[in-house]
Amino acid sequence: MSAAAASEPLRSGVEGGEFARMPLGRAGMWWFLASEVMVFGTLIATYSLNRVAAGGWDAERAHVNARIAAFNTFVLLTSSLTVVLSLQAAHEGLRARARRFLLLTVLLGCVFLGMKSLEYGTEIAHGYTPASGPFWSYYYLMTGLHGLHVLGGIVANVLLWIGLGRPGAERLEPRIEFLGLYWHFVDVVWIFLFPLLYLS
């Protein structure tokens, strides 16, 4: 059966409700995302508290490039869209179309990282490195860690894209959804980082 239903079929034979009979990949991914939420949650919490303690860091935050970040937000939101479209295509059995959307997601991710390195380049050129004060330390740690997560997502998506092109791709199809969960999580983290670091 090539096209699974909207989501991977529930596994029968296991005692318990829908959560117990959920596909393994989805349950495992949500547990992993829970622990990731704590990492970024801690960083956001300590950043906000230190910002209150330091009186808002308004001066330092004026040197951050909100335009590139806004464009990056647009890029990341679009990449979330392409992942959902890729998943939809996979569910309709159009594997070639699914792979094209997956490739688009990867490209958007690369654009995001490209713009970020441009952003870092200009800031460092102006002399703002991680060592120039508490705001910059948190700024580079939070955006850098998020960037690493985007890079990890790109690598995983590329491997999945290659795998889907090879024979025996049915087994890998559910992973589009599970990897999509991770990608959407990375997007949600940026949804919170963007206003906190760049806007106000």
Partner: protein
């Protein structure tokens, strides 16, 4: 099993709503008279709405059992509890 994606709003509409919210956040900055804290709170509210949109529609949380909501929101709750407890020591040191 009816494909929930067809019944609810299509991914593209969700995408459009997300962009509208991003723009709303940017527009918010032009209101000079608002203090920083109110702007931050409003921006966080917008971010929360965007996050809910992504969680419910893109991550299919809408069609998932309640237990997944527990897994998704317990860490958020813990992070908030930690932040509240750290206020006296970090925010007002």
């Amino acid at each position: 099993m009816q494909d929930p994606a067809h019944s609810g709003p299509t991914p593209v509409t969700i995408w459009v709503w997300l962009l509208v919210l991003v723009v709303a956040g940017l527009v918010l900055l032009f209101f000079e008279e608002m203090s920083h804290t109110t702007i931050t709170i409003l921006l966080m509210a917008i971010a929360a709405v965007k996050a809910t949109l992504v969680l419910r529609h893109y991550m299919h949380l809408k069609a998932q059992p309640a237990m997944l909501y527990v897994i998704a929101f317990t860490p958020v709750l813990l992070a908030v509890v930690m932040a509240l407890i750290l206020i006296p020591d970090v925010a007002y040191r």
